[in-house]
Amino acid sequence: MTTAAIALTRRFAREDILRESGIFIALIALLVVAAATVPQFATVDNAENILRSVSIIGVVAVGMTFVVIGGKFVDLTVPGVVALTSILALHLNAELGMVGVLVALLPALGVGLINGTMISTGANPVLVTLGVQTILAGFLLLVYGGGNVYGDRGDPLSSLGNASLGPVPSLTIVFGIVAVLGYIVLHRTRFGFNVFAVGSNPAAARVSGIRSKRLIVSAFVMVALMSGFAGVMIAAYASSSSSASGTGFEFQALTAVVLGGSSLLGGKGGMGRTVAGVLLIGSIRNVMILTGVQSEVQYLILGVLIVMAVSFDVWIQRRGVAA
């Protein structure tokens, strides 16, 4: 091999290592620093808090990973689906028990199908999901206004949502299962491989026979179903919901995915990294709450994080290409 080729290979390896392990290093670093400097951080109670709060967003982030890696940016319908599903779950659970909860997931499936079909025509995912989200939000406003919906704290769903296996909340167990399944689908199945292919080079993917349109539909169905799960988790845990549930979830999930090292341009990323990103954001939020940072400033920092994460991602990509 020529010297240039060797240098090239080494350079690419460096970039990928940074992308691969960057998030894990950052997460461990943050945990260590926080444990050392912030009182109450390194307690079992606090760990439970973090785990519980990240589990709901984490489930959404697992679904969002497919959309991002597939090159379709984002699904902005997450808040609407979360709110709709959580409200429906509360209602149907009262009527039909656990079967009702499963039925409550059907509209989420529908929304995912609609999103995916429209976006598979090549339309801009931001606009399509923005439009659908507006429709969902309008619908929720019409039917439920701003009020809260309450469930029964004594019923099976609620007990399930509030249970714990030792120190681990049930919500986190659900997140864990979803994350593992997501990992298997993304990294160990043909479908997952195709997602990477479509994301990195849509034209080549089509020519090699991958059914891109159907894959895009599947990706959006996944994120919508995950949002539905998140809604069910909210209903189970809090036994209450409103049409405002899920606000901001799409940004947090996207930030987690991008922070974790998946590229917004598609074709690069991973499930483990998304989980690390979720934990990182959850820990940062937790630290901010523990140190008394105002919620407005927390919001601000979230925005800064997104920009930083994406710039970093782009910077790495460009360094790799400019060999």
Binding site: A123, V126, I135, G209, R211, L265, E296, S311
Partner: protein, 326 residues
């Protein structure tokens, strides 16, 4: 004659004007009682139309600016906070905020090479956060802004100052886009960025300028809003980007850039306002309006991508089980 007609039919802004007329007539037939609400429709268009004009410039370059809602809110808040020291200061401050955010957007896109969607998503959150932070999440009132408008207010019969500003804006935007070198450059950057770069156009500068114009419009809109209400809510206008983009896309612009006109956008904004006002007048709640706006946007976006005869083919592609032939 038929040649003229077919040429007109191809122009996007003529198309949207036709759609507008058709919808107007239909709505008048369905709800004849809204005849006198012309003024309402116009003033409703004012702020959205202003921001949509700025958005037009950005979309012509194949970019998006999602931060306009937050920028408007922050500008309004700052205008109120600052105007105690002078009305002109309030205006300058609001515009300054808008231009500042636009500059930030432009720099993030051109320097950090971040896609405009994500860049403006980030600034949207950051700017909103700043607005919430400096107001403690509560609306601010006061300031002495209304003094500036009482003079102008009685000048024209239905042309309230916001409407006047928008009309001036449309004229200026139209002339800018169609007759100036800068305007032509914007179309070039959006149509084929490499070709524009190769022919010596300062592409990065144009991108930054487009975002600054969009920010300026949002800032101006914030000032107008603050003046109208004599108060500012840091949470206001969360839907503004959607409405502005809808107006621009309705007006014939393509998100892929290179197309779009000020007049088309203005008519698009009018169309949205017309529907919203009519629904309002019938007592139909804002939930429906959101649904209708969303549906309109989706229809426009999809039709942009897929002509009707392709719809069947797309459906079959998704559902078929045979190997795809490229």
């Amino acid at each position: 004659m038929t040649d003229l007609i077919s040429r007109l039919r191809r122009r996007a802004d003529v198309r949207i004007a036709g759609i507008f007329l058709a919808v107007f007539v239909i709505l008048q037939i369905m709800y004849p009682s809204t005849a006198g609400s012309f003024e309402l429709v116009l003033s409703r268009t004012a702020i959205t139309g202003l921001v949509a004009l700025g958005m037009t410039v950005v979309i012509i370059q194949a970019q998006l600016d999602l931060s306009v809602g937050s920028t408007l809110a922050l500008s309004a808040v700052i205008a109120i906070m600052v105007s105690g020291n002078g009305v002109i200061l309030g205006l300058l401050a609001a515009i300054g905020v808008g231009i500042g955010v636009g500059l930030a957007n432009g720099l993030i896109v051109t320097r950090l090479h971040v896609h405009s969607f994500i860049a403006t998503l980030g600034t949207m959150i950051i700017v909103r956060g700043i607005a919430l932070w400096i107001t403690g999440s509560a609306p601010v009132t006061g300031g002495s802004l209304d003094a500036s408008l009482t003079m102008i207010r009685s000048l024209f019969w239905f042309l309230t100052p916001p409407i006047l500003i928008v009309m001036v804006g449309v004229i200026v935007a139209h002339l800018f886009l169609s007759r100036t070198r800068l305007g032509r450059d914007f179309y070039a950057v959006g149509g084929n960025i490499e070709a524009a770069r190769a022919s010596g156009t300062p592409v990065n500068l144009r991108i930054v300028q487009a975002f600054m114009i969009c920010g300026f419009m949002a800032g101006l809109g914030g000032w107008v809003t603050a003046t109208e209400l004599s108060s500012a809510n840091p949470n206001m206008s969360p839907d503004l980007p959607l409405l502005a983009i809808a107006a621009v896309v309705l007006g014939g612009a393509h998100l892929t850039g290179g197309r779009g006109t000020a007049i088309g956008t203005a008519i698009g904004a009018l169309l949205i306002a017309l529907i919203a006002t009519t629904l309002d007048a019938q007592g139909i709640s804002s939930g429906y309006q959101a649904v209708v706006t969303g549906v309109i946007l989706l229809v426009v976006v999809i039709v942009d991508q897929v002509s009707i005869k392709n719809l069947g083919r797309t459906g079959r592609e998704i559902l078929s089980f045979s190997r795809l032939r490229p």
